[in-house]
Symmetry: C2
Subunit: 243 residues, 2 copies
């Protein structure tokens, strides 16, 4: 179980670690396949969570919990998750090229909140790392996730987030075809998306800023574009239902 | 210098730590008072940064850098900043009640990017902690910051961000008086703002989400409201200049 802190082992085994009651609760509630739950023997809450999720409950001493948990001072529980098969979402999605696991998790959370799916590029942060899952705060089990996505098949259109020169994020509605699903490409900091990725995208979008600061945190920038996309879809559906 | 990793010492001395060339560069460019810069003796870039900022250049051995730097494997430099006097921004601002230093720094960055100032509540994360400054990515030196703010004097109006029941963030323009500066109150996760703070605010705002996820990361939520506020001000100025 301790080995699952390494990305190679997670991928080889198709497993990931869930730490803490909040994430474990979200996984069980979302119908995820939790195989085992390790917790302190007097941790009744974790034990009942394990039973609800049809996972094996394995009571351990604090030293064992410390060895298998991704953080330094775990209060338990630690769950072992069978990661769901990678599946490209059919609708709008965030396509993450970010390397920071905290930002990646924040973006999974925002995507799920705004009704979008998530895909990660080959060199991006592992969406199933403990840090990413923690920052996702349970959202991993409330959306569709694809990993290691090199290219998106039709019919997805692509929107590249760029620091300058793109269409104003507030005017996305004017250029997007509502009949296509759209993928928002979010780049890593500070370099942003690779130049050829930006050029290959159907649309470039820029969040207008003042002059004091050059760019936003990648998690914030991607979330704002997801927010605009969700608002546009909602307005579009509302106007369609009036027709 | 190592003591400045503790909030009490920072407040007692009115000093803070700047780690890394990017933040130090932003501080010097923003005209901040950098008193000393510690770096490895062959670090010419840091030395020239120190001279540009009129700071004392203090070459040190790696073991010393490791002792005074806030992170574990510093590549230098570490600067000592005289924190600017706490000053309540005159215009729109984010009033942070968040405890997580990373989220607080992300919000300082977003506030500066959207032309807003920043204030922190008494129990919030220290805006001058190394983690907050790092997440701010230089934005601390591009906006006005007030710390330990218990109440905001007139003429500021207050907008509380709430998970449900507030006015839709996309419709803020319909309720805000453009002649007042507005302060956006951002709460800590997972509890949000205290109930009496929410009730006392002039406006409650909610970012509409789908049903899959209950809330956004506090840094993302506050940034989206800042984004809406900045867009509203720009549209308001544009329409005023047409009049």
């Amino acid at each position: 179980v301790a080995k699952l802190q390494r990305v190679r082992e997670r991928r080889r085994l198709g497993l990931a670690l869930l730490e803490g009651p909040r994430v474990l609760e979200a996984a069980v509630a979302g119908g995820a396949r939790v195989l085992e739950v390790y917790g302190l023997s007097d941790d009744r809450i974790s034990e009942s969570l394990a039973r609800r999720g049809n996972a094996e409950w394995i009571p351990v001493v604090p030293a064992v919990l410390e060895m298998i948990a991704p953080t330094d001072h775990p209060r338990g529980p630690v769950g072992v998750l069978e990661t769901p098969p990678s599946e490209v979402p059919e609708g709008d999605l965030l396509w993450l090229h970010v390397g920071d696991p905290g930002n990646a998790g924040t973006l999974v959370r925002a995507a799920a909140a705004f009704g979008l799916g998530v895909a990660s590029a080959p060199n991006a942060a592992d969406l199933w790392s403990p840090k990413t899952i923690r920052a996702g705060a349970g959202a991993h089990f409330a959306t569709t996730i694809a990993t290691d996505v090199r290219s998106l098949p039709e019919p997805h259109g692509t929107i590249a987030t760029v620091v300058s020169g793109g269409i104003d994020s507030r005017r996305l509605a004017e250029v997007l075809d509502p009949d296509r699903p759209w993928a928002v490409l979010v780049g890593a900091e500070p370099a942003g998306l690779p130049e050829q990725v930006i050029r290959a995208a159907d649309v470039q979008v820029t969040i207008r800023l003042g002059e004091a600061v050059e760019s936003l945190n990648a998690g914030v920038a991607g979330s704002i574009v997801a927010y605009e996309l969700a608002g546009w879809r909602t307005a579009d559906e509302a106007s369609a239902s009036r027709d």
